[in-house]
Structure formats: C-alpha cells, structure tokens
Symmetry: C2
C-alpha cells in the first residue's frame, strides 16, 4: 500500500485529467498460482480443434498455409481434413503454393469445403482436375511478391493462418529449424510464412517439435502467434528438393547452365560485389556452380545471393565467394542446415524479398537472375504455369518479380522438350511479360531481347552462339511442326495476376 | 508485347470484373538508368535537414530517440540542435531515457523548441533544472515496458523517430553493431529502438558506419526506414557502462550482491532451467557472478537471462550456464560484442521484453529479478527516480515491469547511503508498488514481504539474517534520525505512470 492524504489524491486526479491519463487504482498483486510456473497461465498449446474454435473460424473465411516443405508438406491436408470433419464449408484456401501432395484437396472441393483457391502454383492431380473444370471459381495465381503485397495491402485478407514449424516453444516463437534438439522436420527459411504471421487475424503454429522457451533465434515471434498445436509431423524434409528443385545431372540441362553462366560472366554486371539469384528448374539451379568457377577465375565475389537458396549457393558462401545469403525459401536440406548454422545466411520475409510496392525489396537490388520456362515466345514472354497441353503444371513463384527487379534476367529453356517446341509464336499463358526478359538461353543458341542492344554488344565477342528469337522459333517449328490449337473450353479455371495485382491472363478449362 | 484479339480482351476484362481485380495495362519496362545501379534510384541516404523536411516534421509533433548509448549518446543533442536551427518549436521529445549528457536540452526548453518530454529517466543538470521547475508541462515518466505499450497502443504517437545505429546500409537495414567492418560506435541491442521503428510514422536512421547492402543480420529492417543520415559519430561506446551500470568494486555493494545471490540460491525458483534478470546498479549487476557460483556448485543451468545483458551474464552464457540471452539493451561493450558473436544471444524489442498487455512478454517468464533502489519503505514500495533531496536523479527502467512479472523480485539497497536512510516510512516517489516486491536485501539484514510467507520459510534455514522491514527502518532512523520534510513547491514537474499507463504518482518542484 502507498498511503496518501485526500489533498494529494485530489492533486493526482487533477494532474491525470490534465495529462489525459487514467489514475492508477490498486497495484495488482501477483497471482501466486503462476509464480515460477507461468506456463500454466500462458500456455498457447492446444489441440487443433480448440485452436480453430478459439480463432473464430467461420464458413466463408480465408485460411492460409505456406509451402516451405514443398512436396513433403503434411500440414495442408491434415488441417483441411480436420476443417472438413468439423463441418466447415465455403472456405478460401490461400496457400503460398500447392503441389502433387495436395491431391486430397479434390474431395474437399467436391464437398464444398473449399470453394476458392489462391496459390502461386498447382501440380499433379489437383492441377489436372482444376484444369478440367473442377471448381466453380477460378483459381487466383499470384507470384510470391504479388502474394506478399496482396496480404500487406489487405487485398488478400487472411482470417486464420495455419503455419507449420520445425520448432516452437509454448509461447509461439517458431522456426524452420531447431537449435535446441534435433528437429524431426527441417524446412529452413519460413520467409513466406512470415508474411502470413504478420498480417493474418489469427495465427496457429503447427509443430512436431515443442522446445523450451525461448526458442531463440526465431523466424516468427510469439507476439504474432495465437495458438500452438503439436502434431506428429509437419513435413518430410527429404521431399523439399524434389520436383522443380531437384538437382540435375541431365547433360542438356548442364549445357544450358554452362551457357547461362557464360552469359553472366560476359555481362557488364559480372563485377566485384554483384548479386544473383537462380530460380527453380534443374538448369537454372545448376548455373550457380559454373558462375562460381568464373568468379574464382576472375577473382571476384558476390555481395549477396537471393531467393530460393540452394546447396550450390551455400557452397560458394562457405568458400567466401558470396558474402550474404538472403533466404526466403530453402531449396534443399543443405540450405536449411546452413540457415541454422551460418550467421550470414539470413531468412527474409516475402515482403522483404519481392513486394513490388516496396522499393527496398531485395529483388530490386539483383544484378542477375536465371530463371526457367515451360515456353517462351518471340516477344520474350514466358510461361511457367501451363504445359503444352494447356494443363496447369507449374508455379509462378518469383519469376515475374525477379525478372522485373533484376538488371539482367536470363531464361534457360531447351528449344524442344521431346516432341514439344519450347520457343513458340505465343505462349499458352502469359506469366512474365517480355518487356522484363533480357536473354533467352537455349541449347541451340542464345537470343537477346532487341531492347537490350547493350547486352548484345557485350555478348558478341564471347564465343556465344547468338541468334534471333524468330530464328530459334523457326528451327523448333521446322523440326516439330506447329502445334494444333489446344482443346480449351469456355470456362475460366485460372486467373493469372501480375505482381501488382492486376489480371494479366486467364486459363481456360481443357476439354477432352 | 503479348497480343490478344478483342474477344479475348473482353473476356479478360469480364473475368477481372468478376474477381474484383483491375486489368493489367502495359508491362512496365525496366528503367535502363538504374540497371545494375539500383542504389541511384533507391538510396535513402540524405542529409539530416533533407530527411527532416521530407518526413514532414511540424511544430507540435513528437520526435523520439533511444538511449542504447546511455551517457555516450551523441544523437539526441545533435538532432535537437539541428531542429532548433531549423526553427522548430513546441516539440514533444519522447526518448526511451535521458541522462547527464543531455544537459544541452535545457536551452532548447528555454527557447520553446521542446515543450514536452517523455522518458524513463532523467539525470544530471537537465534533471536538476526540471526538478526546479524549468518546464511548464510535467515530464511523463514511463517504464520501459510502459513506453513500449504506450507506443504500440498509440497512446504515445511518434511522428518522427531519430534512431542512432552502429551500422546501416543505404536501404536502411540497421544494427547496433557491424558485421562488415569494425564499427566506430557499438551499442549492441537496439531493443528499445525496434519499438520506435515499428510504430513511428517516419523513421530516420542516423549512423556513422554505412555498410554495403545487405546489412544482414539486422535489428531494424529497411521496410521500416524512410531515410538514412550519415553523421560523424552516433555515440561513445566506452560510456555505455558508466553511471548506473558501472561495475562495482565497492565492498558494501559486493556484500549486498552476495546476500541477494544467497536468497536466490535458497529460493524455490533456483532449479534446473530457471530464468533471471539483474537491473542496473552495482550490487544488482554484481549478483550474477555469485549466482553463477551457486549454479556450478548445485550443477544447474539457467534457461535464459533477460534484460540489460552484462558481461557477467555473457561469461555464464559462454560457460554454458545460461542457455539463451534475451537482450533488450546491452549494458556494456562485452555484452554488445557477445550479441554480435554469440548465436544464442538474441536481441528482442521492448514489447517482447515487457509490454504489460502481452502475456508473452519475456518478463512474465522470469523466475528471479534483482533490482536496485534509491529508497524502499515499510510497505515495500520502491523509489528509483528521486533522491532523498526530492530531486530527479534516476530512471524507472524496467523496475516495475520486472518486479511484477518475475516470480520473485529482490531489491538490493543499503540501509544508509552516507547520512541518508534508504529504508524509510514512505518513499519520496512511488515507482514500484510494494505488492510486487518480495524481498529487500540490505547490509543490515533481509526483509521478506509478509505476503510471501512461502519465501520466508525457505530462507529461515539459510543462515540469512532475517528482519522485519519496520525493524530495518527503525535502525536507520535510530542512527540518522528522521529526515526533515523536503522543500517541495506546488508545481507538478513530473508524472509517474504505471506500466499500464495510469498515473501512479507525481513529482513536485523543489524550492531552495
């Protein structure tokens, strides 16, 4: 107790009023029950059903997920099964990406549990079904930067985020690795999940590894977390580097990678302190090692590498050739381990990576990005989402973001894939506009965007086989012949948005 | 270009309308001027005057500062001189704390540049002048947790934050140390500044060390930064551990520290995985080493240490006795260097540390906190702000936050300081209510709050000289005699708020 007389009390009140502040009542005593065992009071660990109920999830709301475990993800199916069991309908599933492993969502769509999907990509059975008209509402496809911006601008409002984590303490400090005990599942960076954690109304962390408080360092701070749910497994780490980010030994891919590296090494951007990114796809990822050889030869180092970080990047970092790794997504287990162990390997959020409305986004500071393609066309437009059969089988990822952000964007793409031409008159689906694409590297030659005369000049003396894009297309068509028109129906099954959030293209259903 | 026919264009428009999205216009081309030299476009580095003008600072607005350089701070005076030169008036200066070095602010108060101050503490000439009635408006004193909460709740709205940093890249990624080159000034954690960076309308980083992008890891992300200003020096690191956080060799202080450690070691909280904090003040800081000896003897480790992190804490951390350091403020150069080099030494923001409205605040998970006092009274109330002469000469800091949050709060305080009794009938200024204080350790015995019978029992067998608080007061008064009433005037010069933001006490002017 602090005893004061009436006069003093009046003065306190008077001062408080003048300062627009309340007057302190009795000092609150500590609750003896929680002394020395505060966890009792503040434990956020509950079961999934309780978490969902307490978060106030309702029919029609938007639930979100990250894809850091890629094809090893176990969270999306687990949570959606539970939500279906609980009787929810008409949900909007907003994932940073979806892939083969998410085929079970087909049933939830058929049953009306999910009626809207937003994602960066779709693959496998789910993609196939959607391409054939499974959903009433078209899927909205966003780039990684576009999704981060849409969430930050509240165009994509997340009601409840369900975020898998490789470690979490009972207060919600979460990470994509564990520094306390060996993690059951490691995914490395939680860069895309960091956006959901920051902006979602409610955040539930799912983890298979509860560690003692404080789980420091952390990717997601307990301040942003409402509940923690322990489950058997959040993901199979061995499947992170499957599919589009599998390491290649294909000699055609390695040739593309070597040529891309040669283009980099002969560009004006290849100088001390430059920066680089390689997107998914075997040839793109493989380019790093060849660039590393050029760097050693020339005696220069890169200031940073960005994006999906790979074991190749880590190797150059550990050799001192790349000073900093900015990791929005770890593309393999070695990258995830490096994030855990290398102090200069830093995880960054989707907004720090590629928000188109933030000038400080790291993509804007890129000198060089090397990206893959399913198709390119004579106007340098790129398609990474639909196959030559018109069916969805890819992901936008950070493709249009980094192509626009980087000083030089290089697309690696074979002229033909089997009996399919990859350099065409017009891409099936527009993902990355040709205005932001600088060089196309094929196994039959390299085409430079005519808008980049400066690059053309640099590459002319570099013993690189330079051709026009039309020339490449003509060769492709001369071997295979022009493809028949695709059997598109009249239903719009997908909407492709630009990073800035406008409709760039649509995808129609396939009729067979 | 991506050419489409009219029919297709209509379908795009129609779909966009249905999805409530705009249609993409022409793809924006890259601006050739910035290719490979994006810094040209995005450089946030300007001079201070330009930064101030561009931030739209106006008379009557609130400007904020951090005190991580403590008495070595060079930012507050530098910026306020510039704002005075620029002709600003009627500013509200909201610093996380102010100290001796800020005496030059007196002139800015006299000239009407500053008409309101919010701070955790005041010392030296500035404090003396304010105690004598320098300002029209009373100074609002907040605890560190209270300030973070007031900013988060927009009770304390910051228009422009001026934040000193030991390293910063041209995009604004800032830190209290440098991992690129040797820093001119190191302060370690930027924990209090992180709050300002998150919530202020505009943020200006001042630095004496521009480093290449990306300055990773960073405390403050470029997303939160508007401008970067390079100045000759942001602070004198050697003065961080001066004043209230100077290491003590005083035998009286060491005796208090030893006794406090004994209390800790004999409490029920001293067990594997416990957590601790020591506040400023020689005896409090010195207690860590003695607790470390008890830990070694008993073979137990602490899960974390919190707060102002000291070299003593770092030593125990490096010996494996403290698993994690949660650092809101580095109390000395060794702590700052450790934050730079030890991966499990993590900086946390003022909100993560001690926001009273966030259950996850680390203070709530504290088992033990050891704190200093200028005065304690028979109701266990504590004063850390005003001296026995009634003049402001201290800081609230995290005192009331951690006293309330911790399972056991221990106050170390000599019975007498020279001819001044420190255990009194009633503290001059109420800072930490007795309801949240558990043990008072003096050089003449230890008093346990009667509300903590459980602790009293634990300590009875511990060869600790236990006395009632009244007994201690009587001894103090019997040696010195009761003090004369202080010469307070009628003007309210300071308002003390509780962590929750209510008026707890007022400070009146001193008349001489």
């Amino acid at each position: 107790m602090y005893k004061v007389d009436k006069e003093y009390k009046d003065l306190l009140k008077q001062t408080a009023k003048k300062m627009h502040l309340p007057v302190q009542k009795l000092a609150e005593k500590k609750n003896p029950e929680f002394r020395g065992d505060y966890q009792k009071k503040c434990d956020k660990i509950v079961d999934l059903e309780t978490a969902v109920i307490n978060c106030g999830l309702k029919d029609g709301m938007t639930v979100s997920f990250h894809h850091h475990f890629r094809n090893g993800d176990k969270v999306v199916n687990y949570v959606m099964n539970k939500l279906a069991q609980m009787g929810f309908k008409n949900l909007h599933l907003a994932a940073s990406s979806l892939t083969d492993v998410h085929a079970p969502l087909i049933d939830h769509i058929k049953n009306g549990v999910i009626t809207q999907i937003s994602t960066s990509g779709l693959r496998g059975e789910l993609a196939d079904s959607i391409s054939h008209g499974l959903m009433e509402n078209p899927v909205i496809f966003r780039s990684h930067g576009g999704r981060a911006a849409a969430i930050a601008n509240d165009e994509l409002h997340i009601d409840v985020a369900f975020l898998g984590a490789s470690s979490c303490d009972y207060m919600g400090n979460a990470n994509g690795y564990s520094r306390t005990s060996e993690e059951k599942s490691i995914c490395g960076s939680l860069g895309y999940a960091m956006v959901d954690a920051e902006y979602a109304d409610k955040v539930i962390i799912l983890t298979d590894n509860i560690v003692p408080y404080p789980n420091a360092p952390f990717a997601i701070c307990e301040r942003d977390v409402d509940y923690v749910v322990e489950i058997a497994s959040v993901g199979d780490s061995s499947k992170i580097s499957s599919g589009a980010i599998r390491d290649t030994k294909n000699p055609h891919d390695l040739l593309l990678a070597q040529t891309a590296a040669k283009v980099v090494a002969n560009s004006p951007y290849f100088k001390e302190g430059f920066s680089m990114q390689t997107g998914s796809g075997g040839a793109s990822l493989a380019a790093t090692q060849y660039i590393g050889e050029y760097m050693k030869e020339a005696g220069i180092t890169a200031r940073f590498a960005l994006g999906g970080i790979t074991s190749h990047m880590v190797k150059l970092h550990e050799e001192g050739l790349i000073k900093r790794l900015l990791d929005v997504q770890s593309f393999d287990m070695i990258a995830a381990q490096s994030l855990k162990n290398n102090r200069f390997h830093q995880q960054i959020s989707g907004n720090e990576y590629a928000n188109p409305f933030e000038p400080g986004s790291a993509m804007n500071l890129l000198d060089v990005v090397i990206l893959s393609a399913l198709e390119v066309d004579v106007n340098f437009n790129v398609n990474v989402l639909t196959g030559s059969d018109g069916i969805i089988r890819g992901a936008i990822g950070g493709h249009p973001d980094t192509a626009k952000g980087a000083a030089m964007s290089i697309i690696v793409c074979p002229l033909l894939r089997g009996r399919i031409p990859c350099v065409v008159d017009k891409v099936t689906t527009l993902i990355t506009p040709g205005e932001t694409v600088d060089v196309i590297v094929t196994d039959r030659g390299v085409a430079v965007n005519p808008a980049r005369k400066d690059l053309l000049e640099c590459l002319q003396d570099a013993k690189i086989r330079l051709r026009t894009i039309e020339d490449l297309r003509d060769e492709a068509y001369s071997i295979i012949g022009e493809a028949d028109p695709l059997p598109f129906g009249d239903k719009v099954v997908g909407v492709v948005t630009s990073p800035e959030g406008a409709v760039l293209d649509i995808i129609k259903n396939i009729v067979e």
